[in-house]
Symmetry: C2
Subunit: 449 residues, 2 copies
């Protein structure tokens, strides 16, 4: 009997995690990975820090190269785009760059095509000097542009994670940076009252903010971008970066008749199976479950992609693993300000018609008398009646952000506000006030639930 063959479409976090896991469990499986781009297994989340200069070069972001996978007997083909899937015949059509298309049969297929950036439909987007961070090649291109062209003025469009991280990176490179965002405060993954603090953090590192604004067009000069037209003014910019959101790359799957789910991501169950036999999906192209709301959700994050890939790799080699989903945890920083969230925002609670209470407290990251104590703001939401914790948002100085993990654990276990008040969290003056700030928030919230 010939060896079974696994074909993986997409060679980043989910695809390569799955391939490695599958190889570990099954030495005989033939494993072929087709990657449209030039790089596999890289740290996409590290690209802002490459641009910012904290990371010395792109090679540091590459976890493993195709030849390293080859030693594991995983065949990686970069520059190979899968253009069609035939789930009946169990084969994919592959277009090799500079070569002929060919058909590759599979026994098991993993779709790990990731996500792509969404751009607003404005003129001038194709000018030189216009970037989005999605795929390592785009990060390298932006890094080289900053190194070689030494732009003086940059405009970042979009105030989400990528917008904030790129803004910080550009400020670290000494570039005058303006950020354009369509709302009154950045980070719409936070409630507005917490988004205000993230907005202030951008001001603190010298980013000029243009809020409640959208770009109308990009101005070009000899093919290079030279400005961004807003409603009442034009901002000079030799560098423009879009961080205007992303969407799952699921068209290939959809064309093959594979069911899509939340926000157009490929529908999978908790084993990473799609609705079609022998077809799996994982990573930024696939949906998952939000454990707090119980709803399908699209959560395109590196950590989730790694987990999904691992579970897919276990199961498509006969394992029994499940990925139960996310609770909505994310973190970033702007300068010394750490920004983190998990679970439902106040806005989500309203939209889901959950009878809820939220409270926001200000505290210190360390004992007040200990050097380096800085401000931390914690917003905590819970269900009335049951007291079940629903979500948290944290903005504060060094040591603030990872406190979100305590709440993420509470959400996973469906603990209550009282459970958090009672919890035996670590205290010593260099680390926390006697009551950890998340517990102080819980104490205040107790009387409201």
């Amino acid at each position: 009997m010939a060896a079974r063959r696994l074909v993986v479409i997409g060679g980043d976090a989910a695809g390569m995690s799955a391939a490695s896991q599958a190889r570990r469990r099954d030495a005989d499986l033939e494993i072929i990975v087709y990657e449209r781009g030039e790089h596999v297994s890289y740290a996409a989340c590290g690209m802002p820090y490459l641009v910012g200069g904290q990371v010395s070069g792109p090679e540091r972001l590459i976890a493993r190269r195709p030849e390293q996978f080859a030693r594991q007997n995983i065949q990686v083909f970069t520059g190979h785009e899968v253009t069609a899937i035939d789930t009946e015949a169990r084969e994919v059509t592959v277009a090799a760059r500079g070569g002929d298309a060919f058909v590759q049969p599979y026994d098991e297929l993993l779709i790990a095509t990731g996500a792509r950036e969404v751009f607003p439909e404005i003129p001038g987007r194709d000018a030189a000097g216009v970037f989005a961070l999605r795929g390592l090649a785009s990060g390298i291109a932006m890094w080289e542009f900053v190194n070689e062209r030494a732009p003086q003025h940059a405009v970042v469009i979009g105030g989400g994670y990528i917008g904030l991280e790129v803004s910080e990176a550009l400020r670290l490179r000494g570039i005058d940076t303006a950020l354009v965002h369509r709302r009154a405060e950045v980070m719409s993954t936070l409630d507005p009252d917490m988004g205000v603090l993230a907005t202030q953090a951008l001001r603190d590192i010298g980013v000029t903010l243009h809020l409640n604004e959208s770009p109308q067009a990009l101005v070009q000069w000899e093919g290079h971008v030279s400005g961004v037209v807003l409603s009442k003014e034009t901002l000079s910019a030799e560098l423009v970066v879009f961080g205007t959101g992303a969407r799952p790359v699921s068209e290939l799957a959809a064309r093959a008749g594979i069911l899509l789910g939340a926000q157009g991501a490929i529908r999978v169950d908790e084993t990473m199976r799609t609705a079609i036999p022998h077809v799996w999906a994982a990573g930024d192209c696939a949906e998952t479950l939000d454990g707090v709301s119980g709803r399908p959700v699209w959560a395109p994050l590196g950590t989730v992609a790694n987990k999904m890939g691992r579970v897919a790799g276990l199961n498509l080699t006969g394992g029994q693993a499940t990925f139960p989903g996310v609770v909505g945890t994310a973190i970033t920083k702007v300068g010394d300000t750490e920004i983190a969230r998990t679970g439902l925002r106040e806005r989500d609670c309203r939209e889901l018609s959950i009878d809820h209470a939220c409270t926001t407290i200000e505290d210190r990251t360390r004992a007040g008398y200990y050097p380096g104590a800085t401000q931390i703001t914690v917003k905590l939401c819970a269900e009335k009646g049951s007291g079940r914790l629903l979500g948290a948002q944290i903005v504060g100085g060094p040591g603030s952000g990872k406190r979100i993990d305590t709440v993420a654990a509470c959400l996973t276990a469906r603990l209550t506000v009282q459970d958090l008040v009672d919890m035996d969290l670590a205290y010593a003056p260099p680390f926390s006030p006697v009551w950890d700030p998340v517990q102080t928030a819980a104490r205040v919230l107790l009387s409201a639930v």
Copy 2:
């Protein structure tokens, strides 16, 4: 009807938390606090940092003064020692410093007498220059001694939390510091393999270690300590600090016929009631429950004392609060090395005859390519079969220690190793590798449970 009267014995964390909570809930209650020492409501855990110079003066460690409590109509009497409790007559005998003893009736009595340092029985302990950190007066005395006498050589006896923190403090003051400890590695609250890392952290800040050693005697010269005699040598020292453990101050309660429990601490239920009506106990003098082993335990920590005090204050004013206990979380640091633990050690699992597995992993605190990533070692233990998490120990660079809270939350909720692997913890390169180190430990442990 005359107002009911609450008498509190002991004016630190537990006693004053209870008094404040009781006042908030009952404006009419008469509240009297007797404190044997000179200070109430101070941050005992901050004393090493006063000695080390990170805290500018003792006043910064005092949260609230007696006159501030007076404004809340809480009467605080310092220099007043309760010498007897008559639980039948419901009255205490009080000896005022420099005054006559008197009898004070109570309706409710809270015993919050704290803990005291335990010293080895060796000659010379009463010499000038010999200290233990227990009570703010001792911290101030040691701080003044270091400021005024500028000792060149110090010996710290005992390698627990206080021993480590005082050693760091003395090194920060430029004092040659030797630490004497009876085992081969410090921090017996960790397993030996993790204690080794804490031991190395002491060496890294220049502390000279004398392990597997016990002091035989202290050498005096004109009433001042001048050395510590070990088995084969004598260490010069103008300053000697004992950090040789503590025990609950429960003799007063025992003499009154109040039942004692774990390690001689006063037995209380989860409402903070003792076995005798109208007598409550909280803080370092009282026992609590270990939620992982299910056994009574003595957990003399500021954070626990505050929680117990709050629950006592709620209940002795008619509330229905409970304190479910601890999971054994603690944290400290030596230089840049953070040391934390929660739950059961491998040694505890063996002693409790739990079928267990433990794993230890080395990882980085941040993405490997991000500046400032330092080493973190995580040891994780779980029950075989069920996979239930039992405990964790963490030693590592900045950002390591508070990760213990994630495991503490898991222990509280009785989650499994698989739950931790699946958990949605916060990831971004400045904060963590893609898999948080505690999850990496969990992934390795999975195959062993």
